[in-house]
């Protein structure tokens, strides 16, 4: 059962990435300015060189052939060359991915720590004024654009990871609070309280098993949120990660680089969501 689920997820990931790649290639081809090369206007080039340049671009005319060749090259580790930076895309990714991974990882940890601290305390205390306060705090952060939080982090010399944490935290808090509140209102929790069980025991023995699988699903979604938050944070804080690379590629209309980044980010988010779902399934299986 579990193997079949994993296989289904793996198939869905591969299919989505291949379909996404094809869609990206199609969009790149349809985008205004495609097939225009400034070097063809260079007066120093003779007609033969211009013809050679034109010939080199002919391959890109057929969408499927272009996509198939791109896939073939990607299988050999060649993701093409960035137009704006003039460097191989794989090299750019190797250089920049570690920083983004670190930022997103720490940001996720911080966001979950903040969200769970507030959500758990609100669920434990069950005081409406405190609940309103925590909701107001998360609501305020929810209403501030991610890019403004990034700018404020520069202004106050706050680390970029904390900015990512603050962007993701209200979204996680919202779900976590609702899930925990729902779990705490279940009849068996009320019975456990009436029997005098300690709050910690209730939390780890009765609440976490109920809310755990759904919280795991939220964890999967929060990876996607954190990766998205990395774009404004890295771009505005001057951090040379994948988010900044995506922003630079967008500003320079570096479509080959952007296509590769899109596929990579899709892969990461799909992997996170599928892992969360499979682990949640395993936990539910253990419980049963």
């Amino acid at each position: 059962m579990l193997r079949r689920k994993i296989a289904r997820h793996a198939f869905a990931i591969v299919a989505t990435v291949l379909l996404g790649g094809l869609l990206s290639s199609a969009l790149v081809r349809l985008a205004p300015g495609f097939d225009v090369d400034e070097s063809q206007l260079d007066p120093h080039l003779n007609s033969e060189s211009i013809r050679a340049l034109h010939q080199a671009r002919l391959e890109q005319h057929n969408l499927y052939r272009f996509y198939f060749h791109s896939l073939q090259r990607a299988a050999h580790g060649d993701l093409g060359t960035s137009i704006s930076l003039g460097q191989p895309v794989s090299q750019l990714l190797r250089e920049r991915a570690p920083l983004t991974l670190r930022l997103v990882g720490i940001g996720l940890l911080l966001s979950w720590a903040m969200a769970m601290a507030l959500a758990l305390s609100a669920a434990w205390l069950r005081v409406s004024a405190y609940d309103a306060l925590t909701t107001a705090i998360s609501g305020t952060f929810l209403c501030i654009p991610a890019a403004v939080l990034a700018l404020l982090s520069v202004l106050w010399n706050v680390p970029g990871a904390l900015a990512i944490g603050l962007i993701v935290f209200p979204r996680v808090y919202r779900y976590a609070r609702n899930l925990l509140a729902k779990a705490y209102s279940l009849p068996h929790i009320i019975t456990a309280r009436a029997k005098g069980l300690s709050e910690l025991r209730i939390l780890f023995w009765h609440v976490v098993p109920v809310a755990g699988p759904q919280l795991l699903a939220v964890a999967g979604v929060s990876v996607s949120l954190a990766v998205g938050a990395a774009i404004p944070v890295e771009a505005l804080c001057g951090l040379a990660g994948v988010g900044q690379l995506a922003w630079q590629a967008a500003l320079a209309r570096d479509l080959p680089l952007l296509t590769n980044l899109t596929i990579l980010v899709t892969l990461v988010t799909l992997l996170a969501n599928s892992s969360a779902e499979v682990i949640g399934h395993m936990l539910r299986g253990q419980e049963a």
């Binding site: 869905a12 869609l23 479509l255």
Partner: protein, 283 residues
């Protein structure tokens, strides 16, 4: 028992007060922004070169920006653009969600699976990443008016996916409901059945999705604007107004530059408060 009833009544009336207040705030902000032509007749692009980067004064209530444009006028016009076009984009995305999600759910089978595969593909990408990718596919060097239309059109055309998922499952459950079966038995089929019996029952979800989309699109436009991928100069929008915060050295130095941010937070919060009512209605 009476105590808890009194408490819930008190809670309910308090929520109602907040919602009324939120509606009043939204009405006020929209009214003032619509009156921008009368309140700031000089327009958003007029430059007062002798008073560039000036502090607030009688002539310029929120000071001027670095090229001498009146910040108050730009906030008014920018608010008008964001508040008129975000609901327009939300309407477009809601219509698309109704069409794709509603129809897919109603038709079921391979249609629903195909539509959900496409929505999953869109949803697997972080929202901001998807926006900057698609924005990059379009020309960046366009006129300000075109940039406004491109930005909000893009939000409307890409923002339907999560709503389509909800609508697909709702329409799927309606397809198997008794009243739809009875309508089918009475000979009503196809587009007529969808139009008369299914679509009206999707209304609460559509309203909720419409209200959810407005603050989301306002925030997305702001993010794009700050990243330089939104509305082009000299056209103001909340995104381009917030870009000014980039040059700040300290908060206390020029606090009036935070007015667009405060206004945006107040408006988005008001939408969230109104939204909670729509969520209740759709539930």
């Amino acid at each position: 028992m009476t105590g808890s009833m009194n408490f819930s009544r008190l809670n309910f009336s308090r929520t109602r007060v907040w919602r009324t207040l939120a509606c009043a705030v939204l009405l006020l902000v929209v009214s003032v922004s619509l009156a921008a032509n009368w309140l700031a007749p000089a327009g958003y692009a007029k430059q007062y070169r002798e008073a560039a980067d000036a502090a607030p004064s009688h002539a310029h209530w929120l000071g001027t920006d670095e090229i001498g444009r009146d910040r108050f006028a730009r906030v008014l016009y920018g608010t008008r653009i964001s508040l008129l076009l975000a609901p327009a984009a939300a309407l477009l995305s809601t219509l698309m969600a109704a069409l794709v999600g509603g129809l897919a759910g109603y038709l079921g089978g391979a249609w629903a699976r195909g539509a959900m595969a496409v929505t999953d593909l869109f949803l697997s990408l972080p929202w901001l990443f998807l926006l900057i990718t698609v924005r990059a596919l379009m020309p960046l060097n366009v006129s300000p008016l075109v940039s406004v239309l491109v930005t909000f059109l893009m939000l409307g055309l890409l923002g339907w996916t999560s709503a389509a998922r909800v609508l697909c499952s709702t329409a799927g459950s309606l397809r198997d409901s008794d009243f739809v079966r009875q309508a089918k038995a009475s000979g009503i089929r196809g587009a007529r059945l969808f139009w008369i019996h299914v679509l009206p029952n999707l209304k609460p979800v559509l309203y909720a999705q419409f209200w959810i989309s407005i603050p989301a699109f306002i925030l997305s436009e702001a993010n794009l604007g700050i990243l330089g991928l939104g509305v082009a100069e000299p056209m103001p929008s909340w995104g381009s107004l917030l870009k000014e915060l980039e040059g700040l050295v300290s908060v206390g130095e020029e606090p009036w530059k935070f007015v667009p941010l405060i206004l945006l937070v107040v408006v988005v919060t008001s939408f969230q408060l109104v939204l909670s009512k729509q969520e209740e209605l759709s539930a």
